[in-house]
């Protein structure tokens, strides 16, 4: 079974355009995959990436890939890394599915993660925030 997305992403590009994930997560450009697949050819052009709650539009989580800062419901959190380094987008949903012995009971837990990954003097650093 699938699950309904509680948060939808919006990617904003350097040229001022944007791309918003659809609730059914089907791609509009690629012939298969998901909405995220549509970003694959433009990942390097993304300047910010946000997650918006479907139930409450005021709940927005975003990451600025120009300086690595995070903004949570309007409050900005600067990243504690050197400036001027490229930040690569990190976005995934962590899905945990359980099955109970002796019954037909299944359960699912989903957390949504956004952030960045970068390399500094040969070491990989990754910072993400998550929401459930």
């Amino acid at each position: 079974m699938s699950y309904t997305l509680k948060y939808l992403f919006t990617a904003e590009f350097a040229d001022g355009t944007s791309y918003r994930q659809t609730p059914d997560d089907t791609p509009r450009i690629a012939d298969h995959g998901s909405s995220f697949t549509d970003l694959s050819s433009r990942v390097a052009d993304i300047v910010s990436f946000s997650l918006s709650s479907v139930a409450d539009a005021a709940q927005v989580l975003s990451v600025d890939l120009r300086d690595g800062s995070f903004t949570i419901n309007g409050l900005r959190f600067p990243a504690q890394t050197p400036h001027g380094i490229p930040f690569q987008l990190v976005y995934f949903r962590q899905v945990t599915r359980s099955l109970v012995s002796g019954s037909s009971e299944e359960s699912i837990h989903v957390s949504y993660h956004i952030g960045w990954r970068t390399a500094v003097t040969g070491c990989i650093y990754q910072q993400t925030v998550s929401v459930e």
Partner: protein
């Protein structure tokens, strides 16, 4: 929407190359199995199989190995970072041992003692066993850490082993968990 997930199970004699179970429940998304009943017969209760109450494991013997796996399809870009724990909730009684392993090798209808990780007490999913994926089936010979089109986890094998002194009756309820990232 998201990736579509189905719990699956193989049973019966080995067939094909690489080998897999003759009877496949949930394979390709056809139906779903929620039968994680360790019992003294090799079948899936949800696929016209035997209720565990009618196939009790005799004290001192092992249950049949369960060849559970996952089928993933639908809308996703990449699935990765698979983990599995045969017990994230529940504590088995004395003289009961739950063994789990992740493999691409099918175990056909066997009560032979399974080797693997002990899950008699809970193992948090973050400490679970790594799971790879294949587009051909759980038996796929070259499973990979990522999946970019419909496919399967490796076999998530488990076996309940009993020893003298085990209490008669139902065991504690055990929760099996799989975790993966998708986007």
């Amino acid at each position: 929407m998201s990736a579509t997930f189905t719990w699956c199970e193989d049973n019966g004699a080995a067939t094909g190359s690489p080998s897999h179970g003759t009877t496949r429940t949930g394979f390709g998304g056809s139906g779903s199995t929620t039968d994680v009943n360790w019992k003294s017969v090799d079948n899936c209760t949800n696929n016209s199989g035997t209720a565990y109450t009618a196939a009790r494991i005799t004290i001192g013997q092992n249950g049949f190995v369960k060849n559970t796996y996952a089928f993933l399809s639908g809308s996703f870009n990449t699935i990765l970072s698979g983990l599995w724990s045969a017990n994230t909730a529940g504590t088995l009684g004395s003289n009961l041992t739950l063994i789990g392993t992740v493999t691409s090798t099918y175990v056909a209808a066997s009560t032979a003692t399974l080797s693997g990780t002990t899950f008699t007490t809970t193992v948090p999913i973050a400490s679970g066993l790594a799971v790879n994926f294949s587009t051909t089936g759980p038996e796929g010979s070259l499973p990979t850490a990522t999946l970019t089109s419909a496919g399967y986890s490796q076999y998530l094998q488990s076996q309940l082993q009993t020893a003298a002194g085990a209490a008669a009756g139902n065991t504690a309820v055990i929760t099996l968990t799989i975790q993966y990232n998708e986007n």
